[in-house]
Amino acid sequence: MWFINSLLSPKKFFGLSSKLIPWLTALFILSFAYGIIGGLILAPADYQQGDGFRIIYVHAPCAFLSLFIYAVMAIAAIAGIVWRLKLAFLVMRHSTTVGAGFTLLALITGSLWGKPMWGTWWLWDARLTSELILLFLYIGIILFQSAVAQKRQGERITAILVLIGFIDIPIIHYSVYWWNTLHQGATLKVFAPSAIESSMLYPLLAMIAAFLIYYVIVLFLRMSYELTALQANHHWLKEQK
Protein backbone atom coordinates (compact mmCIF):
# COMPACT_ATOMS: atom_id res chain seq x y z
CA MET A 1 0.00 0.00 0.00
CA TRP A 2 2.93 2.34 0.75
CA PHE A 3 3.92 2.21 -2.94
CA ILE A 4 0.46 3.36 -4.09
CA ASN A 5 0.43 6.11 -1.45
CA SER A 6 3.92 7.23 -2.48
CA LEU A 7 2.61 7.81 -6.02
CA LEU A 8 0.43 10.56 -4.59
CA SER A 9 3.52 12.69 -4.27
CA PRO A 10 3.06 15.11 -7.20
CA LYS A 11 6.78 14.92 -8.02
CA LYS A 12 6.76 11.10 -8.20
CA PHE A 13 3.55 10.97 -10.18
CA PHE A 14 4.83 13.63 -12.57
CA GLY A 15 8.07 11.64 -13.06
CA LEU A 16 6.21 8.40 -13.64
CA SER A 17 3.69 9.88 -16.08
CA SER A 18 6.41 11.83 -17.97
CA LYS A 19 8.28 8.56 -18.51
CA LEU A 20 5.25 6.45 -19.39
CA ILE A 21 3.23 8.79 -21.62
CA PRO A 22 5.67 8.82 -24.61
CA TRP A 23 5.83 4.99 -24.60
CA LEU A 24 2.09 4.67 -24.23
CA THR A 25 1.57 7.20 -27.04
CA ALA A 26 3.86 5.19 -29.34
CA LEU A 27 1.97 1.98 -28.45
CA PHE A 28 -1.36 3.73 -29.02
CA ILE A 29 -0.30 5.02 -32.48
CA LEU A 30 0.96 1.57 -33.52
CA SER A 31 -2.13 -0.37 -32.44
CA PHE A 32 -4.52 2.34 -33.65
CA ALA A 33 -2.84 2.47 -37.09
CA TYR A 34 -2.95 -1.33 -37.42
CA GLY A 35 -6.58 -1.40 -36.26
CA ILE A 36 -7.72 1.32 -38.66
CA ILE A 37 -5.83 -0.02 -41.70
CA GLY A 38 -6.86 -3.60 -40.91
CA GLY A 39 -10.46 -2.66 -40.22
CA LEU A 40 -11.11 -0.24 -43.06
CA ILE A 41 -8.90 -1.68 -45.80
CA LEU A 42 -7.55 -5.18 -45.15
CA ALA A 43 -10.59 -6.90 -43.61
CA PRO A 44 -13.04 -8.23 -46.22
CA ALA A 45 -16.62 -6.93 -46.35
CA ASP A 46 -19.12 -8.95 -44.32
CA TYR A 47 -21.21 -11.37 -46.40
CA GLN A 48 -24.49 -10.02 -44.97
CA GLN A 49 -23.77 -6.45 -43.86
CA GLY A 50 -21.25 -5.54 -46.55
CA ASP A 51 -18.95 -2.63 -45.67
CA GLY A 52 -21.46 -1.38 -43.08
CA PHE A 53 -19.99 -3.86 -40.58
CA ARG A 54 -16.80 -1.74 -40.41
CA ILE A 55 -18.54 0.41 -37.79
CA ILE A 56 -17.69 -2.46 -35.40
CA TYR A 57 -14.07 -1.19 -35.25
CA VAL A 58 -15.19 1.94 -33.42
CA HIS A 59 -18.46 0.75 -31.89
CA ALA A 60 -17.18 -2.36 -30.06
CA PRO A 61 -14.12 -0.62 -28.48
CA CYS A 62 -16.33 2.27 -27.28
CA ALA A 63 -18.89 -0.15 -25.81
CA PHE A 64 -16.10 -2.20 -24.18
CA LEU A 65 -14.47 0.90 -22.70
CA SER A 66 -17.80 2.17 -21.36
CA LEU A 67 -18.10 -1.02 -19.26
CA PHE A 68 -14.39 -1.35 -18.49
CA ILE A 69 -14.07 2.22 -17.18
CA TYR A 70 -17.08 1.74 -14.94
CA ALA A 71 -15.52 -1.48 -13.59
CA VAL A 72 -12.26 0.43 -12.91
CA MET A 73 -14.30 3.11 -11.11
CA ALA A 74 -16.01 0.45 -8.98
CA ILE A 75 -12.64 -1.11 -8.01
CA ALA A 76 -11.31 2.40 -7.23
CA ALA A 77 -14.45 3.08 -5.16
CA ILE A 78 -13.83 -0.06 -3.07
CA ALA A 79 -10.13 0.86 -2.64
CA GLY A 80 -11.15 4.40 -1.66
CA ILE A 81 -13.74 3.30 0.90
CA VAL A 82 -11.81 0.38 2.42
CA TRP A 83 -8.18 1.64 2.36
CA ARG A 84 -8.95 5.38 2.10
CA LEU A 85 -6.60 5.71 -0.88
CA LYS A 86 -6.67 9.26 -2.27
CA LEU A 87 -5.28 7.96 -5.55
CA ALA A 88 -8.33 5.70 -5.92
CA PHE A 89 -10.69 8.69 -5.58
CA LEU A 90 -8.63 10.56 -8.19
CA VAL A 91 -8.92 7.61 -10.61
CA MET A 92 -12.65 7.50 -9.98
CA ARG A 93 -13.16 11.24 -10.50
CA HIS A 94 -11.15 11.52 -13.70
CA SER A 95 -12.51 8.33 -15.25
CA THR A 96 -16.11 9.52 -15.11
CA THR A 97 -16.11 12.01 -18.01
CA VAL A 98 -14.04 9.70 -20.22
CA GLY A 99 -16.40 6.81 -19.45
CA ALA A 100 -19.45 8.97 -20.15
CA GLY A 101 -17.92 9.99 -23.49
CA PHE A 102 -17.32 6.39 -24.54
CA THR A 103 -20.85 5.39 -23.49
CA LEU A 104 -22.35 8.22 -25.55
CA LEU A 105 -20.16 7.22 -28.50
CA ALA A 106 -21.20 3.56 -28.15
CA LEU A 107 -24.85 4.68 -28.38
CA ILE A 108 -24.24 7.05 -31.33
CA THR A 109 -22.15 4.58 -33.36
CA GLY A 110 -24.61 1.80 -32.48
CA SER A 111 -27.43 3.98 -33.77
CA LEU A 112 -25.50 4.69 -36.98
CA TRP A 113 -25.01 0.94 -37.40
CA GLY A 114 -28.59 0.07 -36.44
CA LYS A 115 -30.27 2.34 -39.00
CA PRO A 116 -29.02 0.54 -42.15
CA MET A 117 -29.07 -2.96 -40.56
CA TRP A 118 -32.23 -2.95 -38.41
CA GLY A 119 -34.06 -0.12 -40.20
CA THR A 120 -34.29 2.06 -37.10
CA TRP A 121 -32.06 4.49 -35.20
CA TRP A 122 -33.29 3.32 -31.81
CA LEU A 123 -35.46 0.72 -30.15
CA TRP A 124 -36.11 -0.11 -26.51
CA ASP A 125 -34.09 -3.27 -26.73
CA ALA A 126 -32.54 -4.73 -23.52
CA ARG A 127 -28.91 -4.04 -24.55
CA LEU A 128 -29.59 -0.50 -25.79
CA THR A 129 -31.75 0.43 -22.82
CA SER A 130 -29.26 -0.86 -20.24
CA GLU A 131 -26.43 1.01 -22.03
CA LEU A 132 -28.57 4.19 -21.95
CA ILE A 133 -29.05 3.66 -18.19
CA LEU A 134 -25.24 3.45 -17.90
CA LEU A 135 -24.97 6.86 -19.61
CA PHE A 136 -27.48 8.29 -17.11
CA LEU A 137 -25.45 6.77 -14.27
CA TYR A 138 -22.28 8.45 -15.55
CA ILE A 139 -24.10 11.79 -15.95
CA GLY A 140 -25.56 11.43 -12.43
CA ILE A 141 -22.10 10.80 -10.98
CA ILE A 142 -20.63 13.81 -12.85
CA LEU A 143 -23.44 16.06 -11.59
CA PHE A 144 -23.06 14.74 -8.06
CA GLN A 145 -19.28 15.27 -8.12
CA SER A 146 -19.69 18.86 -9.19
CA ALA A 147 -22.49 19.53 -6.70
CA VAL A 148 -21.00 18.30 -3.42
CA ALA A 149 -19.55 21.03 -1.28
CA GLN A 150 -17.53 18.94 1.18
CA LYS A 151 -14.90 17.18 -0.88
CA ARG A 152 -13.90 14.32 1.45
CA GLN A 153 -17.44 13.32 2.38
CA GLY A 154 -18.51 13.81 -1.24
CA GLU A 155 -15.89 11.39 -2.51
CA ARG A 156 -17.10 8.63 -0.22
CA ILE A 157 -20.74 9.18 -1.16
CA THR A 158 -19.78 9.22 -4.88
CA ALA A 159 -17.93 5.92 -4.35
CA ILE A 160 -21.07 4.37 -2.81
CA LEU A 161 -23.13 5.73 -5.73
CA VAL A 162 -20.66 4.12 -8.18
CA LEU A 163 -20.93 0.78 -6.36
CA ILE A 164 -24.75 0.87 -6.41
CA GLY A 165 -24.69 1.62 -10.15
CA PHE A 166 -22.37 -1.34 -10.79
CA ILE A 167 -25.45 -3.60 -10.85
CA ASP A 168 -26.02 -2.32 -14.43
CA ILE A 169 -22.71 -3.73 -15.74
CA PRO A 170 -23.59 -7.49 -15.63
CA ILE A 171 -27.09 -6.59 -16.87
CA ILE A 172 -25.59 -4.90 -19.97
CA HIS A 173 -23.23 -7.82 -20.59
CA TYR A 174 -25.81 -10.60 -20.18
CA SER A 175 -28.80 -8.70 -21.64
CA VAL A 176 -28.32 -10.37 -25.02
CA TYR A 177 -28.60 -13.80 -23.37
CA TRP A 178 -31.32 -13.07 -20.79
CA TRP A 179 -33.78 -11.40 -23.17
CA ASN A 180 -34.73 -11.75 -26.81
CA THR A 181 -32.98 -8.80 -28.43
CA LEU A 182 -32.15 -7.56 -31.89
CA HIS A 183 -28.59 -6.90 -30.75
CA GLN A 184 -26.18 -9.66 -31.72
CA GLY A 185 -24.47 -11.79 -29.06
CA ALA A 186 -20.87 -11.32 -27.95
CA THR A 187 -18.43 -11.35 -30.87
CA LEU A 188 -15.37 -11.83 -28.67
CA LYS A 189 -15.35 -14.68 -26.17
CA VAL A 190 -12.70 -15.31 -23.54
CA PHE A 191 -13.24 -19.05 -22.99
CA ALA A 192 -14.47 -20.03 -26.46
CA PRO A 193 -13.42 -19.38 -30.07
CA SER A 194 -14.53 -15.92 -31.22
CA ALA A 195 -17.44 -15.72 -33.65
CA ILE A 196 -15.43 -13.67 -36.16
CA GLU A 197 -12.84 -14.51 -38.81
CA SER A 198 -9.19 -13.78 -37.90
CA SER A 199 -8.65 -11.11 -40.60
CA MET A 200 -11.54 -9.20 -39.02
CA LEU A 201 -10.68 -10.18 -35.43
CA TYR A 202 -7.07 -8.93 -35.13
CA PRO A 203 -7.82 -5.32 -36.17
CA LEU A 204 -10.71 -5.34 -33.68
CA LEU A 205 -8.42 -6.52 -30.87
CA ALA A 206 -5.87 -3.86 -31.88
CA MET A 207 -8.54 -1.13 -31.73
CA ILE A 208 -9.69 -2.29 -28.28
CA ALA A 209 -6.05 -2.26 -27.10
CA ALA A 210 -5.56 1.23 -28.61
CA PHE A 211 -8.66 2.59 -26.84
CA LEU A 212 -7.52 1.06 -23.53
CA ILE A 213 -4.09 2.71 -23.87
CA TYR A 214 -5.79 5.96 -24.80
CA TYR A 215 -7.84 5.83 -21.60
CA VAL A 216 -4.66 5.32 -19.52
CA ILE A 217 -2.93 8.28 -21.25
CA VAL A 218 -5.88 10.64 -20.71
CA LEU A 219 -6.21 9.48 -17.09
CA PHE A 220 -2.49 10.15 -16.49
CA LEU A 221 -2.73 13.61 -18.08
CA ARG A 222 -5.76 14.58 -16.02
CA MET A 223 -4.42 13.16 -12.76
CA SER A 224 -0.98 14.72 -13.10
CA TYR A 225 -2.60 18.08 -13.71
CA GLU A 226 -4.80 17.80 -10.64
CA LEU A 227 -2.00 16.49 -8.38
CA THR A 228 0.52 19.04 -9.58
CA ALA A 229 -1.37 22.17 -10.47
CA LEU A 230 -4.34 22.10 -8.18
CA GLN A 231 -3.12 20.39 -5.03
CA ALA A 232 0.60 20.88 -4.70
CA ASN A 233 3.29 23.35 -3.91
CA HIS A 234 5.49 22.87 -6.95
CA HIS A 235 8.87 24.62 -6.72
CA TRP A 236 10.47 21.48 -8.13
CA LEU A 237 8.64 21.99 -11.44
CA LYS A 238 10.78 24.98 -12.30
CA GLU A 239 13.81 22.68 -12.47
CA GLN A 240 12.17 20.39 -15.07
CA LYS A 241 12.91 20.95 -18.73
Partner: protein, 52 residues
Protein backbone atom coordinates in the same frame (compact mmCIF):
# COMPACT_ATOMS: atom_id res chain seq x y z
CA UNK B 1 -6.57 3.85 -58.87
CA UNK B 2 -9.14 6.67 -58.56
CA UNK B 3 -11.89 4.07 -58.90
CA UNK B 4 -10.43 2.12 -55.99
CA UNK B 5 -10.28 5.27 -53.84
CA UNK B 6 -13.85 6.24 -54.71
CA UNK B 7 -15.02 2.68 -54.00
CA UNK B 8 -13.28 2.89 -50.61
CA UNK B 9 -15.03 6.14 -49.71
CA UNK B 10 -18.36 4.83 -51.02
CA UNK B 11 -18.17 1.92 -48.51
CA UNK B 12 -20.58 -0.23 -50.50
CA UNK B 13 -23.37 2.34 -50.08
CA UNK B 14 -22.90 2.73 -46.30
CA UNK B 15 -20.55 5.73 -46.57
CA UNK B 16 -22.72 8.17 -44.59
CA UNK B 17 -23.14 5.76 -41.66
CA UNK B 18 -19.55 4.49 -41.57
CA UNK B 19 -17.82 7.88 -41.93
CA UNK B 20 -20.19 9.60 -39.50
CA UNK B 21 -19.39 6.96 -36.85
CA UNK B 22 -15.62 7.30 -37.42
CA UNK B 23 -15.81 11.13 -37.42
CA UNK B 24 -17.67 11.22 -34.07
CA UNK B 25 -15.14 8.87 -32.47
CA UNK B 26 -12.07 10.68 -33.88
CA UNK B 27 -13.42 14.07 -32.78
CA UNK B 28 -13.99 12.76 -29.25
CA UNK B 29 -10.54 11.11 -29.05
CA UNK B 30 -8.81 14.28 -30.28
CA UNK B 31 -10.74 16.56 -27.93
CA UNK B 32 -10.28 14.39 -24.83
CA UNK B 33 -6.54 14.23 -25.50
CA UNK B 34 -5.95 17.77 -26.66
CA UNK B 35 -7.75 19.66 -23.89
CA UNK B 36 -5.82 18.20 -20.88
CA UNK B 37 -2.58 18.26 -22.90
CA UNK B 38 -3.00 21.96 -23.74
CA UNK B 39 -3.88 22.76 -20.12
CA UNK B 40 -0.72 20.92 -19.01
CA UNK B 41 1.51 22.70 -21.52
CA UNK B 42 0.13 26.12 -20.53
CA UNK B 43 0.68 25.36 -16.86
CA UNK B 44 4.24 24.08 -17.43
CA UNK B 45 5.11 27.21 -19.44
CA UNK B 46 3.79 29.41 -16.65
CA UNK B 47 5.82 27.53 -14.03
CA UNK B 48 9.08 27.55 -15.96
CA UNK B 49 8.98 31.25 -16.83
CA UNK B 50 11.06 33.33 -14.40
CA UNK B 51 8.84 35.74 -12.49
CA UNK B 52 9.74 39.35 -13.10
Amino acid sequence: MIDAILRFFYMGGYAWYVWSAYTCVFAFLLMQWFLPWRRWQKYLREQQQPKS
